[in-house]
Symmetry: C2
Subunit: 351 residues, 2 copies
DNA sequence: TTGAAAGCGCTAACAG
DNA sequence: CTGTTAGCGCTTTCAA
C-alpha cells in the first residue's frame, strides 16, 4: 500500500469526485466541445478546489504520439547566430526525448520572399508545430506571420522584432538599455571633460538608432562633463576608419579631446586602427558591443576596456522553451518580450 | 498508419532488433543485475547503433509512482537566501507535475549539530531523494554528507562549498574571480595614481580572503598605478566605519589619497558613512558586492558606482535542476562546480 | 453528451 | 536469466 504523501491530484481524482469519467474531465478542463455546460462548470470548480494542475510529464509523453518539429529560420553565415544556434541545440538537448526537435533553416535575411517561402515550407511541408524566426519587419512578412499564427502555430521572433501582432512573443535585446549601460560605464570611466564618440553603422536602421538614443540618454544622466559626437561607419572598415577620423578632427577643431569611444556596432578593426593612429598620449577609453574575435583580442591587450555583451545563446534557448511550454499548455507566455540579459564584460572575464 | 518521421528509437525498437523483451533491454541499458553479460553487451551495441536515448518524459512520468522530495537546508533570516529560495521555487514550478517538490528547512547555519540533525531528519524521516544544503565546512558535516551520499542520495552544496568528496557538486560563486572583476573595474574607473581600499569582513574566513586575493591579483594586472590597502570591518557598522577611517588616515600619512573603495563584504552603511565624512572634494569611486537595499540606494544616488552581482536565484534554481537530472538519469553532472554568473551592475540596471 | 479503452516510453514486480 | 504485465497521467479515438 503506497502512501499518498505529496501526490498531487490528477484528473482521475477529479473524475471520482465529480462522478464522471476521465475523458469528460479532460474535455471540461481543456474547453473541448461536446460537454454539458453546467457539468463542465462543476468539474472546473472541483479541479480548482482540489488544487489541480496538469502533470507536465504525462502531457509531454503524449507528444511522442506525433513528435513535434519546431522550425527555426536564421540568417546564414553570421558569427552572432552561431551562438544562437548553440542555444537552440542546448534547448533541444534538454527537450531531448520530450518529443520535440528543431529544424534549422538558414537564409539570406534581407531576402523578403526567401523568408516567406521558408516560413511556408516549414509550416506546410514540414508541418512544424512552432516557428522561431528573424527577418526584416516588412508588411509581407508580418502578414505571413499573422496568417501562420492564425493556423494555431506559435511564432516567436528573435534578435530583431517583427511587429506582427499575432506572434507569440519576441526574444531579444533591449537596445536602448544596452546604450544606456554603455553610457554609464563610459561616463564613469572618463572622469575628465572631453568628447566621447559613439560609432554606429547606419542611423537609418531602427536598431542602430535605438542604441544611440540610449547612449545619449545615459550621457545626459551620467556624462554631463562630456560632449557626445555620433558617427556612422556603415559597418565597413573604411567607413568606420573615416568616421572615427572625422570625429577626432572635429573634436580637435572645437578644442576638445576625444576621451572615450563607444562602438555601438560596425567594424571594430576600423575603429581600433583609427584610434591607434590618432592618439599619441592618453588612449581614449573604449567600450564595444558583443564578443567578436576582434573584441576579444582588444580586451586581452587592453585596447578595449569593456564590452556590452548580450547572451546570444539566450536568444536560441529561450524561444525553444517558450514554444515548448506553449505547445504543452496552450497558454500565452508571461511576457511579450523576453530580454536577453545585458552584461558588462572586461578582460577579467576572458579567463 | 502514422508515419515514423522523426520518431526516435525506443526500448521497444531495441527489443525487436535484439529479439528480446523490453524488460531485458531495460535491465541491460541500466546495468541492472541479472542479465547475461554477452546479451547485455549486444543490446547496448544495438542501442548505440540505433542512436537510442531514453525518453525523459516517460522516465519523469514514472516518478509519480513515488513522488520525490528534495530536501533543502538554508540559513534562517538572511536577505541573500530569500533570493535563493526564489530560485528554488522557480525550479519547483518548472518541475511542477514532474513528481518532484522541495522541502525547505531553515537553520542557524553556524550550529554544526543542527545542520547534521536536519540532514538526518530529511534523509531518514522525510526520505528525501536528494539534498541541497549549505553549512560550515567541518569534518562532522563532511562525514554526514559522505555517508548520506553513500546511501545513494545526491547532495549538492551551495553558496559556500563543503569539501566532502562524495557530494554531487557545488553551486556557487567564484570568489577569486569576483575580486578580479572588481579590481579591473575599479582600476579602470580610477585613472590617476592613489590608494584603493579593499574592505572585507574577517580575513580568517576563507570566503573573505578569496575575494581579496582576487582583488589584489587584479590590481597587479590592471592597477599598477594604484596602491592597495586592505581593511577588516568584521561585518559591523562600527568596525567598518573604523577600518575605513584608518585606511584614509594612513593613506594621508603616506602622502597619497584614497581614490577608490572596494567593499568586498560587510556593512555598506558604515563604509558610505565613513567616506562621506572623510571626502571633501573628489569622492572616491566605490564598487560593492551584491544588491542589498543600501547598495541600491547608493547606486541610485551616485554614491556607489557599480556593484558586483552574483545571481542568488541561480544558486537555488541550478541545484534543483541538477538533482532532478541526476534522479532521472543517474549520471553525474557535467561539472563539479556550477559558477553563478558574475555581473557588473550600475545605476542603469536599476531601471 | 458521456463512457471505455488504448497507448505515449519506461520500470518494477511477478512469473517462468 | 528472461518474459509478461500493470501502471505513472493524459488525450484521443470509438462506442454507447
Amino acid at each position: 500500500v503506497r502512501e499518498r504523501k505529496h501526490r498531487r491530484p490528477t484528473i482521475n481524482n477529479i473524475a471520482d469526485v465529480a462522478g464522471v469519467s476521465r475523458g469528460t474531465v479532460d474535455r471540461a478542463l481543456n474547453n473541448r466541445p461536446g460537454v454539458n455546460q453546467r457539468l463542465a462548470e462543476k468539474i472546473r470548480r472541483i479541479a480548482c478546489d482540489l488544487g489541480y494542475a496538469p502533470n507536465r510529464a504525462a502531457k509531454a509523453l503524449r507528444f511522442n504520439y506525433e513528435p513535434q518539429t519546431i522550425g527555426v529560420i536564421l540568417p546564414a553565415a553570421n558569427e552572432f547566430f552561431d551562438d544562437v544556434v548553440r542555444g537552440i541545440k542546448r534547448a533541444e538537448e534538454e527537450l531531448h526525448g520530450m518529443g520535440v526537435h528543431a529544424q534549422i533553416e538558414t537564409i539570406d535575411e534581407s531576402d523578403e520572399s526567401a523568408v516567406v517561402n521558408t516560413m511556408m515550407r516549414l509550416s506546410e511541408e514540414t508541418e512544424a508545430s512552432g516557428l522561431v524566426m528573424t527577418g526584416p519587419d516588412t508588411s509581407k512578412i508580418r502578414t505571413a506571420i499573422n496568417s501562420i499564427a492564425d493556423t494555431g502555430i506559435p511564432v516567436v521572433t528573435i534578435n530583431s522584432d517583427i511587429s506582427a501582432e499575432k506572434r507569440l512573443c519576441f526574444v531579444g535585446q533591449d537596445l536602448r538599455k544596452s546604450g544606456l549601460v554603455a553610457a554609464e560605464l563610459l561616463a564613469k570611466l572618463v572622469p575628465t571633460p572631453g568628447t566621447v564618440v559613439a560609432v554606429t553603422g547606419d542611423l537609418n536602421f531602427q536598431a542602430h538608432r535605438d542604441r544611440i538614443v540610449g547612449f545619449q540618454e545615459g550621457m545626459e544622466k551620467w556624462g554631463k562633463h562630456l560632449k557626445v559626437a555620433v558617427g556612422e561607419g556603415y559597418d565597413s572598415y573604411q567607413g568606420t576608419l573615416r568616421c572615427v577620423n572625422d570625429a577626432f578632427s572635429s573634436a580637435a577643431h572645437s578644442g576638445t579631446e576625444v576621451v572615450g569611444v563607444y562602438m555601438a556596432t560596425g567594424s571594430i578593426d576600423g575603429c581600433l586602427e583609427a584610434v591607434n593612429n590618432l592618439t599619441a598620449g592618453n588612449r581614449p577609453r573604449i567600450v564595444t558591443n558583443d564578443i567578436l574575435p576582434a573584441v576579444e583580442a582588444g580586451l586581452a591587450d587592453g585596447r578595449i576596456d569593456f564590452t556590452i555583451f548580450q547572451d546570444p545563446e539566450y536568444q536560441g534557448y529561450m524561444p525553444m522553451k517558450v514554444i515548448y511550454e506553449y505547445l504543452l499548455t496552450k497558454r500565452m507566455p508571461e511576457s511579450h518580450w523576453f530580454q536577453s540579459p545585458i552584461r558588462i564584460l572586461g578582460a577579467a572575464d576572458l579567463e
